[in-house]
């Protein structure tokens, strides 16, 4: 396997508050190879989006990276000054956000926004930049791109807007794209179109994608590997087929069982009782231990690190010394 384009090492994100420091992301490590799609799943508040925001350097204060490293092509980017980070953002790391309406400026035409982005990162004349913008729109499957380029965002439908946002993210041919819930606001039929598009583009351009979503189905269709996050920690990480079909962490097992499926006629869904802990009340030991059905003494006292479990890695004491 080629060397990773993006590497996150022992990332900690903290929020200092009056009542103490909240650890929103706690010792998260992963890497993404060129052309690879890493899916990041988890429930609301698991720290998925924060990890993505930290990578593009858009963590909102008072949130801050407390320790750990983020490396792009082997270079640290988490400690860069603002201006330098600005040059990397968009040029080398692109971002696609959940709501395509709020990520576009309603007062500018789509073309103007694309041209502005292209000229910020690449030295192109107005005419060349416009040509490139049209080519990008064609690439993301917008019909009659030559006319549509002068339309405003409100003249596009939700799916078409998300295509424009993808075109914006691709404008400077970044090496990494952080896609934060790119299909959540869309209908299933449109979601299918956008996923197919994302997959094709990242295959053609060799772009590494970090796909943040809470939808396991989207991950199953798109990702090569998947990281399951729980309470700011990675609970399990591994090849997508293994994590989905042979989940190793009890949380992943519960998560997979709670998804209704077509070919099963189960009367009841598997449910994980309780809720994810609040950030100020994360239990000692394994964060999942109060909800876990297989909990034993060690889980309550000592926090498990990621350890080999079958063909994946899971942070669970059940797998200690087994492989």
């Amino acid at each position: 396997m080629s060397s990773p384009v993006l590497e996150v090492k022992n990332l900690h994100i903290e929020f200092p508050t009056r009542r103490g420091v909240l650890k929103a992301v706690d010792n998260v490590s992963f890497s993404i190879a060129p052309g690879e799609v890493l899916g990041v799943v988890g429930e609301s508040g698991a720290g998925k989006s924060l990890t993505g925001a930290a990578i593009i350097g858009l963590l909102e204060p008072p949130g801050r990276v407390a320790s750990g490293q983020i490396l792009l092509n082997g270079q640290r980017i988490d400690n860069l000054p603002y201006e330098q980070m600005r040059k990397i953002r968009g040029r080398q790391i692109g971002a696609i956000f959940q709501d395509p309406l709020t990520s576009l400026n309603p007062l500018y035409t789509v073309g103007r926004q694309l041209v502005e982005t292209i000229q910020t990162h690449l030295e192109l004349s107005d005419v060349a930049a416009r040509d490139r913008a049209i080519k990008l729109l064609e690439e993301v499957g917008i019909p009659a791109a030559r006319e549509r380029i002068d339309h405003y965002p409100h003249q596009f439908s939700g799916g078409m807007r998300q295509r424009v946002v993808i075109a914006l993210a691709l404008a400077a041919e970044p090496k990494v794209i952080i896609a934060d819930e790119p299909t959540t606001a869309l209908d299933v039929s449109i979601q299918a179109q956008i996923i197919t598009l994302l997959k094709r583009l990242c295959r053609e351009h060799g772009t590494a994608v970090m796909l943040v979503t809470h939808d396991m189905g989207v991950i199953a269709e798109t990702a090569d590997r998947v990281a399951v996050m729980y309470a700011g920690r990675v609970a399990e990480i591994g090849p997508v087929a293994d994590v989905i079909h042979k989940p190793q962490h009890p949380y992943t097992v519960g998560l997979m069982g709670s998804i209704p499926e077509f070919d099963s006629d189960r009367e009841r869904l598997i449910q994980i009782d309780g809720a994810m802990p609040r950030l100020d009340a994360i239990p000692t030991g394994c964060a999942f231990n109060p909800r876990c059905t297989k909990v034993f003494d060690k889980c309550k006292t000592t926090r498990p690190d990621l350890m080999p479990a079958s063909s994946s890695m899971a942070a669970c004491w059940l797998h200690e010394g087994k492989v």
Partner: protein, 331 residues
């Protein structure tokens, strides 16, 4: 099973014209949006009927028509043998009794609970409104019982909605809906705002309550897996019309309308890991200017002669009702 809810040729048109002065000065025409068009179906007592479809297809409008929040432009909604018009127009004993029987659960549990009220007051409101229990201690007992149904404790009644998570709030909404001893619950995307593991808790709870209390559900969702799990029968809507309706196993197992098939193909399937999905063409047309004939014809892969000329009638076919020339044409 007897029919509990009956919709007969229900249509709802909204006036979306520009303001009167603009129409006069700028000579803009009046415009109307047909949100629901000629919808007929029955819901039998004790069953769950689910409506599915993409955004803007009229699912929620149908829910509001049944619960009486909108009056149908044409057609009639009959609940338990009584026209819903009565519940809307008068305030006599019969109207109140009818309103008591039909309750609704909304999508967003952050918006549907009053943040300034304690949970006990939220749950007690329908009881007070319908004057079901007047004795305060009996009322408290009833509220505690209702909270118990949804796996909350009587103590939770003293808290405010913001002290609960999304899943707990949706359970409070369910407790409130159950407060007036309803027979029929309309659930408009009750789990769409929730995470999957919490969604599983709420869906399991809803199934348990249905079994224990013999409730009838109309369940609205855009998530076909959820619908497959909870429903007995399924209706698929497209641009204000029901294109296919029937038993869940029939509709999902052997879809007859091309739109149903398209929706099923579009679902990301966990078993399909790594395989290419079926690409789907086009988008939902503007409902202000729907295509002539069958509303689905511009996107339909099996479009032929009559599809863009006349609107297909709903006919019984292979154990379900379907509105499609192609599916029902003799080959």
């Amino acid at each position: 099973m007897s029919t509990f809810v009956q919709l007969k040729n229900v249509s709802k048109t909204f006036d979306v014209s520009a303001p009167w002065l603009n129409r006069v000065i700028e000579r803009k025409p009046q415009s109307f949006l047909q949100a629901v068009s000629d919808v007929s179906f029955d819901i039998r007592k004790g069953e769950t009927l689910a409506l599915v479809g993409e955004s803007g297809c009229g699912k929620s409008t149908v829910a509001r028509l049944i619960v009486g929040l909108y009056a149908p432009s044409t057609g009639s909604v009959v609940v338990d043998g009584q026209d819903m018009k009565i519940a809307l127009s008068s305030n006599n004993e019969a109207a109140r009794a009818l309103r008591r029987k039909v309750q609704m659960i909304f999508q967003d549990p952050y918006a549907s609970l009053n943040p300034r009220w304690r949970v006990a007051d939220i749950v007690a409101e329908p009881i007070r409104t319908h004057k079901l229990i007047t004795d305060p201690s009996a009322l408290n007992k009833r509220v505690a019982e209702l909270l118990g149904f949804v796996k909350l404790t009587a103590k939770d009644g003293e808290k405010f909605p913001h002290q609960f998570s999304g899943g707990q709030r949706q359970r409070i909404s369910i407790a409130r809906a159950l407060a007036s001893n309803p027979e029929f619950l309309i659930c408009d995307e009750p789990t769409s705002a929730l995470d999957v593991s919490v969604q599983a808790q709420v869906l399991n709870l809803m199934k348990d309550l249905q079994r224990e209390m013999g409730l009838t559900y109309l369940f609205i969702s855009h998530n076909l897996q959820v619908v497959h799990h909870i429903a007995d029968r399924v209706g698929v809507m497209y641009l204000g019309r029901v294109v296919e309706i029937g038993d869940k196993r029939e509709v999902f197992g052997a879809p007859q309308h091309p739109y149903t098939r398209m929706l099923l193909d579009a679902i990301p399937d966990l078993q399909m890991t790594g395989k290419a999905r079926t690409p789907v063409a086009g988008e939902v047309p503007n409902p202000l200017n729907p295509p002539p004939g069958c509303a689905f014809n511009p996107r339909c892969p099996k479009r032929f002669e009559p599809c863009d000329k006349s609107r297909p009638q709903t006919v019984s076919f292979r154990g379900r009702e379907v509105a499609c020339f192609g599916a029902t044409a003799p080959v």
